[in-house]
Structures are given as structure tokens and as C-alpha cells.
């Protein structure tokens, strides 16, 4: 096992910022339920509302548009189910959900559940070879029967290959027919400018731990005029759509992280892009057959995703892990059994090639030596993984 640890899995979770730990620890010592009326409650509530204002200011939203949640998955559930139920309640004809075929499971499985259990009519919109939604397909799908669409949901940036979606254009197309649009921006915030007021979207998901904050906290940005049916009922906190005692310390940590992650976003993105380009060059020099996936022009600056033909992604992961390099196969893992990624399959990548894919994702702590470590380790790892893949193929005969 190598001594040096090279962490290139920021898209899975990012290192927590030291100032976040400080803020959370301090806030945890403060007594008070933010919903209580006495002095202790007021003190806790002050922290919650200051956090809300910080998040809002960092993301171009109004404070009243910030609904704190337990993270990205909950925010996506609230947006998709909440929009579907409230829109259908207002007009029972609205049963269609239009979603991109490359959504994160937090959206994809929620949409699928609405289809399987709640009578929604689900349409998965195709993407091109880079993973970008084909807006014409959306336009065509809506115009078939605009009155029956409950919502559109398309992520801001893909978590596996990093491709950016034309969310502004998508919102404009949907809004022609008064259809609300949700977007999961979990990967985008902290790598790209995200401005809620000008993006045109109706609900946007943000997560804490992808940008240096704590795990277990996030927010759904909800435009003021949007009505959501609550998913979690109780004391009526958070505009009555997300009940539960307000977690002031987590919100404070989250706000600190969001503020830090959105500061000097252009400079940070440029730095990530330089590192990413160096990583892509290093990998391609070592493994000329490696195929970079995604859109080189319009993508998250911190994600480099490759297919290594003839290799199993699992084998590469094991070998790189042993060499001290942490990356991901980028595919959905519930118990670690890898299935070919639905994102890559939707992009038209062949199943065998999809299985041999790796995602390297960078963040604020990534350095040039991290990139060099990959460039050094990837060649031998691919050679070994290919031999292991071939041994399997030989046995199959």
C-alpha cells in the first residue's frame, strides 16, 4: 500500500473545510430550538436565519427561497414529488414527467417511483454522445400535449461525466407552457456560477458535503410562487413543506461552506480546469487508447471521465486503490455491485466499454502532485486490468 493518498473523488464527497468544523462545533454548543419563542430559541433562530441569508446571497436567491433539507437526495425528492403532487392536484390531467435520461438516482428513482406507484407517465429524454440533453426532443415532447406535463427535471451538470445541461434554454421552453422545471445542481455549485434569480429554474438542489460542508445537510431553492406538496409532515417548519426541528449547527456549517465555495468561482474553476487538462493529458500519454467522455467544452471543470477499452472498471479501481489513488467507477453502487452506468448507456456507449470506465473528480484541495500520481499509476494499472479482463474472456470461451 502506497503511503501517499491521492483523493480524486470530490464528486462523491469533498474534504470538509476547517472553518466549517469550527462553526458547526460552536453552534452545537448553543442551546435552543429555533422554533421556540423564548430567548434560547431566538438565539438558535438567529443562527438559522443568518445561515439562510448567507446561502441565499451566495446563490443569488432570496432568503425565503431557501428550504433547508437533510441533503441533496431529500431536496430532489421534495422537488420532484412536491411539484408532481401539487401540479396534479391543481389539474388532474397533469401526469407527465419529462426527465433527462442521465439524472442522478435521487431524481431518477423518485421519478420512476412516481411512475410505478403514483400513476405518473414518465418520459426519459434522450441525450447526445456527450450526455447533453437534446432540447428539440424536450420541445417535441411538450408540444405533443403541453397541458398534461406536470414538471420537467434536468440536472445542471452530470455527476459522472460532468457535462453541463442547457438549463436556461430548457426552462425557457418549459415556461412557454407554464411548466415548472427542477434541476439538481449538487455538482455545479462550487465549480460554476449558479445564480438562482437569473437561471430561470423553479427549484434547484444544493448539497453541503460536495462543497466542503457537512454530510447530511443541503437545501432546495424554491421560487416563491412555486407550490410544493410536502413530503415530510410535522411541525410546519420551512414554509410548511419540510417539517422537522431546524438543525441550526448543520445549516451554519452548510452556509459557511456555500459561501466559501462560491467565492472567486472563476479563479477556482480556472485552476480546476488546468488540473483537469493536465490529468487528461497525463492519462492519454500513458494510455493512448483511453477515451475521455463528456463534453470537453461545456462541462464541470473538476471532472475527468474515461473509458479504458478492454478493462473492467472494478479492476482498475482495486489497482489504483492499492496504489493510494481514490477515484470512482462513477456508476450506481448500492452494495458495491457495479452495473454499467445508465448515464454512459444513455450516451450510446457500449455496455462493455461502459463497464471499463473511471471518474476522477477534483476540488479545492487537489494539487498538481495528485494529477501526476494518476499519470504515473494509470499505465501499469490498465495493463494489469486488461490482462485480468482478457483472462475472463479466455475462460468464457
Amino acid at each position: 500500500m502506497s503511503e501517499r493518498r491521492t483523493y480524486l473523488d470530490h464528486a462523491a464527497t469533498s474534504p470538509i473545510l476547517p472553518e466549517v468544523i469550527e462553526v458547526v462545533a460552536e453552534a452545537m454548543a448553543i442551546l435552543g430550538n429555533p422554533s421556540s419563542l423564548h430567548a434560547a430559541g431566538r438565539q438558535a433562530r438567529k443562527l438559522v436565519e443568518e445561515s439562510r441569508e448567507t446561502v441565499a446571497a451566495s446563490l443569488g436567491a432570496r432568503p425565503s427561497e431557501v428550504v433547508f433539507t437533510s441533503g441533496g437526495t431529500e431536496a430532489d425528492n421534495l422537488a420532484v414529488k412536491g411539484l408532481y403532487w401539487s401540479r396534479r392536484a391543481a389539474d388532474p390531467r397533469r401526469v407527465r414527467i419529462l426527465a433527462s435520461a442521465v439524472e442522478h438516482h435521487a431524481v431518477m428513482d423518485t421519478v420512476q417511483w412516481l411512475g410505478d406507484a403514483q400513476g405518473a407517465d414518465v418520459e426519459w429524454l434522450p441525450v447526445d454522445r456527450t450526455g447533453r440533453l437534446q432540447v428539440d426532443a424536450l420541445r417535441e415532447s411538450i408540444s405533443r400535449d403541453p397541458g398534461s406535463v406536470a414538471l420537467v427535471t434536468v440536472m445542471w451538470a452530470n455527476n459522472e461525466v460532468g457535462t453541463l445541461q442547457p438549463v436556461g434554454e430548457i426552462a425557457a421552453v418549459a415556461h412557454e407552457h407554464g411548466i415548472p422545471v427542477h434541476s439538481d445542481a449538487v455538482q455545479a455549485v462550487g465549480q460554476l456560477p449558479v445564480d438562482f434569480s437569473s437561471c430561470g429554474l423553479d427549484t434547484v438542489t444544493v448539497s453541503g458535503h460536495k462543497l466542503g460542508g457537512p454530510i447530511g445537510v443541503g437545501a432546495l431553492l424554491v421560487r416563491r410562487e412555486i407550490e410544493l406538496t410536502p413530503v415530510q409532515h410535522g411541525g410546519g417548519q420551512e414554509r410548511d413543506v419540510r417539517s422537522g426541528t431546524l438543525d441550526a449547527p448543520s445549516f451554519a456549517g452548510f452556509a459557511t461552506a456555500v459561501e466559501a465555495a462560491t467565492r472567486d468561482i472563476a479563479g477556482h474553476a480556472a485552476q480546476l480546469r488546468r488540473l483537469r487538462d493536465a490529468l487528461v493529458d497525463g492519462v492519454r500519454a500513458a494510455v493512448p487508447e483511453a477515451v475521455p467522455n463528456g463534453d470537453p467544452a461545456a462541462s464541470l471543470p473538476g471532472i475527468a471521465h474515461f473509458s479504458f477499452p478492454g478493462c473492467e472498471g472494478d479492476s482498475l479501481l482495486l489497482l489504483l486503490d492499492a496504489a493510494g489513488i481514490h477515484c470512482s467507477t462513477g456508476s450506481a453502487c448500492s452494495v458495491g455491485v457495479s452495473r454499467p452506468s445508465h448515464v454512459l448507456l444513455a450516451m450510446g456507449i457500449d455496455e462493455d466499454v461502459a463497464r471499463g470506465s473511471l471518474r476522477f473528480s477534483m476540488g479545492r484541495t487537489t494539487t498538481r502532485p495528485d494529477v501526476d500520481a494518476v499519470a504515473e499509476a494509470i499505465g501499469p494499472a490498465v495493463e494489469r486490468a486488461r490482462a485480468a479482463g482478457l483472462s475472463g474472456a479466455a475462460l468464457r470461451r
Binding site: D314, L317, V335, V337, R384, A385, S391, R396
Partner: protein, 363 residues
């Protein structure tokens, strides 16, 4: 040494991996996902294919501080083990899927992948011993006769054994549970797995019916008289006594046993226990743990997983292995393996193709 530890989620493979760590090896744990649609939880005490089992394996690996991965071998397992299992039953035979899994999956697909990835050996929680002998590595019975699994490993060649490690062969099972407890492994008191891992509810006949469909036919006695009906010949094994669904008792009042299974005319022949006795077995697809034997072998032969080995002679002629038992044996089922031993040592094995009783053979 870099060791890949196959971890089923049970106590044996967990302790085996822990012993390798203690010995100073660089150990990586791997759970083999063998089912395409794993059950969430174990139903009863069988199997190693549930999500709960993979979590147990991962937890054990975490406790010993080793890397852990899940390898998806469901497709290989289906093609090499499950389909073979179904086809064998369809042909009126009684396969042993554990043996097939050891031959085709654990010590073939997994071993080869491990070697290619730079590992030196694969370790499992099987109860058997590997001994260095004059002709290379030998497979011996475990010291715990109740747990000995050399029979289901009898298909392994010297080459496969060269890269295999069975750390538990020298220890009684009861000690392993205590050891797991001392090591703080949560699986210490987990029940042993039984039966066939890919048939979660243990209903083999139901599983086969789902695969092969109903194929009703007659149950006949040795004179050919129809004395009952059945839903499919795949529900039967040579030597079986229970579940024959015979309408009336035998004239002599004694129990009857399955003597012959003929899927072609869907006929199951039953008869008295005496007719089960065979003393000659012909096996195909022999595998040798060491050099191929020449001439007549004096050995003992075991023909089912939980059974004793009986004194026998054996000879390999043109790729077919004929075994003659010293005393007649009952319940020898085609499809099962016959494993030959020299004392504690496994000589080799073959798949039982046919059996005969000396008295019955005209020669």
C-alpha cells in the same frame, strides 16, 4: 504475499481472511456476487447470495482493516453453475453445484482474475488441507471430519492448488466460532449456510419446476407396473425414499427407493433397498490432483458430499474412470462426483456417469 480472500459473509471465510492478515500477508477481501437478483435478507440459514451476506462480509473486512470489493460474477455463475445444474437434473442426474462452483468460479474465474491483477493466491474458508508432497501440492482432508470439504474441492488440479490457501483445514469448526468471537467478528454466531445458495427458499423441486416446467410421468416398479405419478423426473434422486407419492404400499410392506430416472420417457423406477446396491461406477471428465494415474489404483472412493469413503479399486482407461467398490454401495447417483482418496489425500475425481451391480452384469 498478496492474497485475495474470498469472503462469503459467513464465519469461516472471515476467520480464514483474518488468519492471512495475522500471518503478515497483504490481504484484499472480495465478495462474489453470484445472483443477478439478490434477496435482501437470508431466509433461514442458507446461501451466501443475499445483500445481508455481502454487508456481513464487508463489515468483517472493515473490522480487520483490509480493502474490500464486490465482484459481480452472476453471469458466469449462471452460465457455468446454474444452467449446468438445471441441465443435469433435466437429464435425470443429480449434480453438485458447489463442486462446479469451485471448479469453474472460485478456482478458475476468480483465481485467474486475481493472478492477473497481481495477487499471488486466493484464500477461502474451506475445510481442507494443502500439503506439499513429492509430486507437488496435495489436497488432504481437514482435521475436522464433520466439516471436511475435500470432496467439493476434489475437482481442483495441482496447478489450481498452487495458488489456493485453505487456512482452516487444521482446526475444528467449533474453535473457529470461538476465534471469530475473540476477533470481534460479528459473524461469529451466524448460522452455517446449507443447501444450494441460489435457491433461496430451499425448494429445489420448485426451482426446477420453474425452470423446466411440469413434466408429469409414471412411477413404476421393477416389473414395469405403474404404481404412481410424478410432476417431473427432476424431483428425484437415486436412493431417494421420501416423497415418492406411491398410492399403495409394496407387497412386502417394505419401503421403496428410487432406482432409476429416465427423463426421456418420464419414468421413475422404484424398488426395494437391495436393488440400490451397486459395486461398479463409471465416471467421466476425470480431474487429477497430481499426475494421471496409470494401472489399477487401490484407493477409497467417496460419492457424495456427506458420506464416508469406501474401499475400492479404480482404473483409468481412455479417459473413462471405472471404480469397483469392495462392498456394494447404495445411493450412488449419476451426476455426483466420485472422489478418490489415498488415505487422507485426494487423488482425483470424476463425474459419475453410470453404475452397475456385478450380479446384474452378464460378464
Amino acid at each position: 504475499m498478496r492474497v485475495l480472500a474470498a469472503m462469503s459473509g459467513g464465519v469461516d471465510s472471515a476467520v480464514a481472511a483474518a488468519r492471512m492478515v495475522d500471518a503478515g500477508h497483504d490481504v484484499t477481501g472480495v465478495h462474489l456476487a453470484l445472483s443477478a437478483n439478490p434477496q435482501s435478507f437470508r431466509s433461514g440459514a442458507r446461501g451466501c447470495c443475499t445483500l445481508e451476506d455481502s454487508r456481513d462480509a464487508r463489515r468483517a473486512a472493515d473490522v480487520m482493516g483490509i480493502p474490500f470489493y464486490i465482484w459481480d460474477l452472476a453471469e458466469r455463475f449462471r452460465a457455468d453453475v446454474v444452467e449446468d445444474f438445471v441441465a443435469e437434473y433435466a437429464a435425470g442426474r443429480t449434480p453438485n453445484p458447489c463442486l462446479r462452483c469451485n471448479e469453474k468460479i472460485k478456482f478458475s474465474a476468480v483465481l485467474e482474475r486475481a493472478l492477473a491483477l497481481g495477487f499471488d493466491a486466493v484464500c477461502t474458508g474451506h475445510y481442507a488441507r494443502i500439503v506439499d508432497g513429492p509430486q507437488g501440492r496435495e489436497l488432504h482432508r481437514a482435521v475436522d471430519p464433520d466439516k471436511d470439504q475435500s470432496y467439493v474441492l476434489g475437482v481442483l488440479t495441482t496447478e489450481q492448488l498452487r495458488h489456493a490457501i485453505f487456512p482452516l483445514g487444521d482446526t475444528p469448526k467449533s474453535d473457529i466460532r470461538d476465534e471469530a468471537e475473540r476477533r470481534d467478528l460479528a459473524v461469529a454466531r451466524k448460522p452455517d449456510s446449507h443447501d444450494i445458495c441460489f435457491i433461496a427458499d430451499g425448494d429445489t423441486a420448485g426451482f426446477l419446476r420453474g425452470q423446466l416446467g411440469d413434466a408429469p410421468g409414471d412411477v413404476v416398479d421393477t416389473s414395469g407396473e405403474v404404481i404412481g405419478e410424478h410432476d417431473g423426473t427432476y424431483g428425484f434422486t437415486i436412493g431417494q425414499r421420501k416423497g415418492l407419492k406411491i398410492g399403495r404400499p409394496a407387497d412386502d410392506g417394505k419401503p421403496r427407493y428410487v432406482l432409476d430416472i429416465s427423463p426421456v420417457d418420464r419414468r421413475v423406477t422404484v424398488g426395494p433397498r437391495e436393488e440400490l446396491a451397486v459395486d461398479e461406477v463409471v465416471g467421466t471428465a476425470p480431474r487429477w490432483c497430481g499426475p494421471e494415474p496409470v494401472g489399477m489404483l487401490e484407493c477409497s472412493a467417496q460419492f457424495r458430499a456427506h458420506g464416508a469413503a469406501a474401499p475400492a479399486r479404480a482404473e483409468l482407461v481412455d479417459g473413462a474412470l471405472t471404480v469397483w467398490f469392495e462392498a456394494p454401495q447404495e445411493g450412488v447417483a449419476p451426476g455426483q462426483a466420485i472422489v478418490l482418496y489415498d488415505g487422507e489425500r485426494v487423488i482425483g475425481s470424476a463425474t459419475i456417469d453410470s453404475t452397475a451391480a456385478r450380479a446384474a452384469s452378464p460378464a
